[in-house]
Amino acid sequence: MSDVTMSGQTPVPAVEEHHPHHPFLQHHFEDLGQQHEASTLGMWTFLTTEILFFGGIMLAYWVYRLAYPDAWSVGASLQNTRLGGINTIVLIMSSLTMALAVREAQLGRRIGIVTMLFLTLIFGGIFLGIKSYEYHAHWQEGLFPGTAWHWNENPDLAPKIQLFMTFYWGMTALHALHMVIGAGLLLWFMWRAWKDQFGPEYYGPVEVMGLYWHFVDIVWIFLYPFLYLIHGHKH
């Protein structure tokens, strides 16, 4: 402290001590604002491909649903509507905590981000646990298409119900795969948040991770009525 003057004031440094570059600013961006906007736009562009990916499968689902409405309503009546509904609420709760994790990042609360990401992971885990239980039950009931199929309560409609169940397994498994990837991202982001890598200046990655998670929630918002809640036949 030799350069402290007699009056106790520190001398003003010749060069202002201000980070010329934020450690997380990539050199090809002008500033953090531009970088943030580019990452959000890039994620939405990826989500466009995801919307059309799931959209294409849903299109095929609707082509066959309009062709075989009876098989589709019997197929939906074989689902566990209560567990599907509980899972929908669980996933919405995970979306809430994900949105709150982004908010905590905007506010620069490190422990808050980790906590909210952890809660999102827990809700995601509960969803996958309930889904596994349903898969196990369907397997036992012989509702897996192909050689494992032995559900035969309605022999006339059974081949078409196999088609419905093909959509059921395919769409829900693809959704679950997205959730498993999301869970991996959550773990990575919890570690990054723990290392204090996010804050009001740099919350973009948490926001972009959130966009992915919310998209997966939106897919389920459609899958629940498509696969569980078709009014009509109760077998």
Binding site: L41, T48, I51, W62, G85, I92, A99, Q106, G210, P225
Partner: protein, 109 residues
Amino acid sequence: MDSTSTTQGHEHTPHVHITPLWIYFAVFGALAAGTILTYLASTVDMGWGNTPVALVIAATKASLVILYFMHAIHSTRLTWVVILGSFLWLGVLFVLTFADYLTRAWAIY
């Protein structure tokens, strides 16, 4: 708000719009209510009306998630173009496909 003060002094930092907590909880409440509503609606016989009702509820829920949880409401115009473009192409996919299938008089539709 404690939030705004933390960003002062950095003119090039991202525009941070911090949504009040009550909005997140209100959207969550609406999504949960929509889930219960879509279940209840499926138990009522509305004839051909069941499908449109289920689709409208799901589309409303999805819109709430996109606008508030995904912050589309505060995003730039360019981001809006990409978001709306996604659904435009999805619409083209459905409209052209069903323009074919639904006009096949000899088919099972």
